[in-house]
Amino acid sequence: MRRFRIGLTLRIVAVLVVLGIAAFPLYWMLVTALSSNADLFAERPRLLPDFSHFGVFVDGLAEGKVGGWLLNSLLIAVGTTVLSIGLGIPLGYALSRFSFRGKAVLTVVLLFTQMLPEALMVVPLFSLFRRFNLLDSLAGLILANVAFVLPIVALILKGAIDGLPRELEEAARVDGARPLAVLTRVNVPLIAPSIAATAVISFFHAWNEYVFAVTFIFTPEKQPASVGIANFIGELGTPIQTVMAVAFMFTLPAVAFYLFAQKYVVAGMTAGAVKG
């Protein structure tokens, strides 16, 4: 009994330490945003936030730009997530269930796209987008993000569908279900945890993406928050508290989305663990 309690205490301590390490950057952003100029570079840094400087958040939002940036980021992230999952499910299904010539090559090619850094793709994508009039539009940015995220989404979903017994599909077909119904009503609910995991990957990628966004978007009103925050960094000066306040606000929607999807992700990670 005593050994059990010690073990439990150690586990709680370990969880708290890990939690502290994970949450510290967010906390430090908050403390810095709420610091006075004098506290910012004091020999002994301030460890607790000073809420008398909360105005920096109000000022940041009152300027109007930040709300617009966050909305653009949200549109881009949601668009990327919806489109990559919408296309990733049939692609993953096809890779899992159909036999066709070049299937192995296609799978490897999908992996190749993950090995190219974004910076390498900027110029060719820019030329392509220019031809299709997709520059300076959130739609173009969503497509660029989907191009990068879709392969990994499709491969994860392929793995998830591989793990489903074919007998379930056959049983549904015997009951008269058409192939699309088999996919949407039988397979999709069963791979929901994996879909949630890929949604998190897609959302975070699009939320944080900078290189495409800074190059493809010209109009300030269309910039996402990842680029908007960088606009605060000037050649000769940077308002550090404002940057931290906006950065703190920038992280919150992403954290909220993760908390929403978390239970599905965890279920996805453990799914199949008990399968024989």
Binding site: A42, G86, N133, A139, G234, G237, I240
Partner: protein, 417 residues
Amino acid sequence: MKKRRVRRSMMAATTTIIGVASILLAGCTADSGGDDGGVAKISFAASTFGDPGRGPLLNQWLEEFNKSQSKVQVSAAAVPYPTFGQTVLTQMGSGQGPDLIRFDMPEFEAASDAGLIAPLDDLVDVSKYTLLKQPDQFVVHDGVRHGVIFEASNYAMFYNADLIPKPPTTYEQFVETAKSLTKGDVFGLAFRQTEAEEAGVWQDIFNYVYGFGGKWSDGKTLTINSPDNLKGLQAYKDLYDAKVIPKGADAATFRRMFAEGKVGMELNNGGYVTATRGQNAKLNFNVAPIPFPVRTQGAILAPVVINEASEEKEAAATFIRWTLEPANQVKLQEILGASSVATVTQRSAESLKKTPFLPVFDGLTESSLPQIVLGFEAKTPDIRKVVVQNVVAALQGQVDLKTALDRAQQQATELVG
């Protein structure tokens, strides 16, 4: 039969997804622009729009242009400073980008060499204006004008007057002052020292190289590893090793520290005056020439250019002509702080009263040089990368400075051919 049904269903699924995606994307697509009633809308990209102090004032200045015009309207294109050159050059290289750009010299030279900048000779008649000859010569290549100076800003030594009542006048005093000031959370000096700030490190080491009699080239051959360059960069490294700077702090951080009285000295250009006041209006600071053995220092030359791909070149030229008008030049100079502008202007008595050290900057114009490699102007960004990489490696103790410079010389020579 079964296979055909599967195929039909998959086709239906794909069509549905594409349809939904199209509806989603349609909601986010760019405006087509439409008829703006004969008003040409142009964009102007400048990394200075993000500066606290200068940025808001520059935006107001653009608004003054817009009020004065009925057929042309200019707006600031927000391109973040950290990736400004890379972003704008990528856009221009693909036939897009802002109509007007304020470039720093290395990027200006690269863009000019690549034919990305529209020649101005037929668009702006500069003979109507009294241009400052020293900075202006660098924006004319082979008799063709590629830009007009937007800002010319000489480097000088900024010092916190509350910490340093009398500024150092020799290098030895400079080192001694930096050492004596460094204690607790106060540092005697600050400069850039990480590869992440490649362009900034280049600007900083330029003053040490030229201030000790060195130069990056003789116009025909690179001289990166010359004895004078080694002397200058050794001085830079000695200060790094002496722990008188906040190591690891980037420019944004140590400039804020300077504004808060936590850094004693900094070598910076005239634009820093307004930016510093924008961060702390009460700071008691002053400016003196850089106390290095040779009175040669860097200068930020920032020309404004017209994008060759712009469809509104005449409208962009209208903006440039407006900036060159005497009243607008004076206003621009007041916004930019201690910098010079394209034409000869008189400092107002009010400006001199508010900023008594303005003549220090003006007196350095003849001995200031743009931070490019003469004779290899268009290759400056590539040479800069090689030099900064090797110098930073020496700072971090991976290699001794002489070997680093020899290596930089070899790599850069191979690069320029």
